[in-house]
Every structure is written in C-alpha cells, then in structure tokens.
Amino acid sequence: MAETQNDGELVHRARRGDESAFGVLVERYQRAAYAVAYSVTGRHEDAQDAAQESFLVALRRLEECRSPERFAGWLMTIVRNRARNLVRRESLREMEQVPMGASSSTPTPDRVTETRELRASLRKALAELPEMQREIVLLHDLEGWKHREIADRLGLPAGTVRSHLHFARKALREVLSASPQDADRRSGK
C-alpha cells in the first residue's frame, strides 16, 4: 500500500518516524540519488557514500522540506551538495561501505574484461561532460526518468532538460566512438 502512496504522504508519515514510509522513499529514489551523486563524484564509493548520507540528512531535516510532494527534487539538491562537498573536502567516509557481493551468475573472464573496459570508457566519456549533462543523461537514460520529471524535480525548464540530454548523448557518442578500445574493436584487433 505504501508503495502506491505519493511522496507527500510518505514524507508526512516519515516525519512521525514511520520506518516503512521512509523505506519506500529510499527504495524509490536510491538509484536516482546514486546517479546524481555519481554524476558529481565519478566514483562508485563516493557516490554511494553521498547518496546514503543524503538520505540520512534528508530524514533529519524533513521539516525543512516545505513541499513534501516535491521531495525528490529537494532530496536531489541534498545529494548534489553532499557529493560536491565530498569531492571538495575529501571528507572521511562515515558510513560503512556496502561491499560488492558476488553475482548470482558468474560471468566469463572475457565478459568481465569487456565490462571493465566498457566501464572505463564510459567513466572517461562521462567525465568529459558538464555536471548537469551527466546528471540529466544518467537520470533519463539510466534511471528512466522522463523529461517532465527531471524538469520538475531539478527545477529546470523542460526545454533545458531536452537540450542538455541531446548534447550529453552527442558528446557521449563522440567520446566513445573515439576511444582506443572501440577503435581496436572496430578494426578487429
């Protein structure tokens, strides 16, 4: 039932200490929070820390969320600031890192290598994008948020979101096309 409730209701319940309501909010926005944090930090560990800490900060400051129905946008602002602070100050990690567990299906060595290479290329490509474009392309193409959702939640005009997305994709493709790994693959090396 809580899963179908809107953010406003969940925030009101979380303010009274309702763990299940807060849990739904975490589940609903953990991926987006991670994506936003990753777009700032570019590192898994930092993104994870920033995203997790942001949920705790948001919980402590729930009364400051003046429009509970716009919780997502408010949360993303916290995540962004937290991630920036993390990068800027290289603060010590307060939260225990979630260890990367073993996958249920064991990939083949070739597959592992390919995934690693792909990740490295993507990280490099993403790193060359402006932060806002990174954030938008991750929220849209990775998390599946719609233009309107991104615009509403980040407080941006829809046209700006579309524009950022367009340029982010274009830049991403250009960088990935020009990557040596990709060139090697194309030439059959």
Binding site: V26, Q30, F55, L122, D141, L176
Partner: protein
C-alpha cells in the same frame, strides 16, 4: 559485436529513452555485479536511520501525551485550589453568626458605665415637677 558497438549503432538523436545508451550506462550501476546491491543499500540506510526514526516516533508519542500532561499539570492543581477556596468560603459562610441588630437602647448606653438608666417613674410621680427634680442619676 560489443555492447559499446551495439549502443553506438543503435543510438539515435531521438530524445525518448535511448535503450542502447541506457544499456551502456547500466553497466555503471552497482547492481550489475551485485543484484542484491540496492536491497542492501536500502537496508543499510534504514539501519543508520533507525535512531532518528525512533526519536521521531518518540516525539510523535510525546506530543500527544504532552498535551494531555500539560493540561493535567495546569488544570488539575488550579481546579483543586479553586475547589478548596470555594469550600473554605462556604464553610466560613455557615459558621460566622449573623450579627443581631443592636437595639437603640444599647447603643445609647454604650460607653457610659456606672450610669444607670433612670427608672421610669410611676405615672403619678412623674406628673409633678418636684418628683422629677428629685430624680438623681
């Protein structure tokens, strides 16, 4: 054909969700290597938030109880005091005798000790001046 090549070939300039780009970016998700990652992420956040959630629950409980307690604190002693005062007033009202109205004669002799009220002469004696003059106080 690699994921990357597939992604690049399938990429379009459409601004709908680009499945290929999504797949490419999806490789950055921590859940690729660990399908239970998000479940554990949530559990870890909730574990870290348990103290704050408990504090909030307590505050919510205290708020209701606080209102009742504050009412009790303010109203009960006031009511007891008011009742005690009212009781005292009522008791006093019943025990204090009602002062009898003083008679005119008593008021006239008040403070005149040793002086007696002249005995009224008999009608026959009073009729004479001598008798009246012989009257002594």
């Amino acid at each position: 054909m690699s994921q990357l090549e597939k992604g690049l070939e399938g990429a379009t300039d459409e601004l709908g969700r680009d499945i290929e780009v999504a797949e490419l970016l999806g490789s950055l998700s921590p859940s690729v290597e660990d399908p239970t990652y998000w479940m554990r992420f949530k559990a870890q956040v909730l574990r870290a938030a348990s103290t704050e959630l408990a504090r909030r629950r307590m505050m919510a409980d205290v708020t209701v109880a606080d209102v009742l307690t504050s009412w009790a604190r303010a109203i009960v002693p006031t009511a007891v005091l008011a009742a005690a005062l009212a009781g005292m007033i009522l008791l006093r009202a019943h025990t204090v005798p009602i002062a009898a109205p003083a008679r005119v004669e008593e008021l006239l002799v008040a403070g005149m000790e040793g002086e007696t009220i002249p005995t009224t002469l008999s009608r026959t004696e009073a009729e004479t001046q001598i008798a009246f003059a012989a009257e002594r106080f």
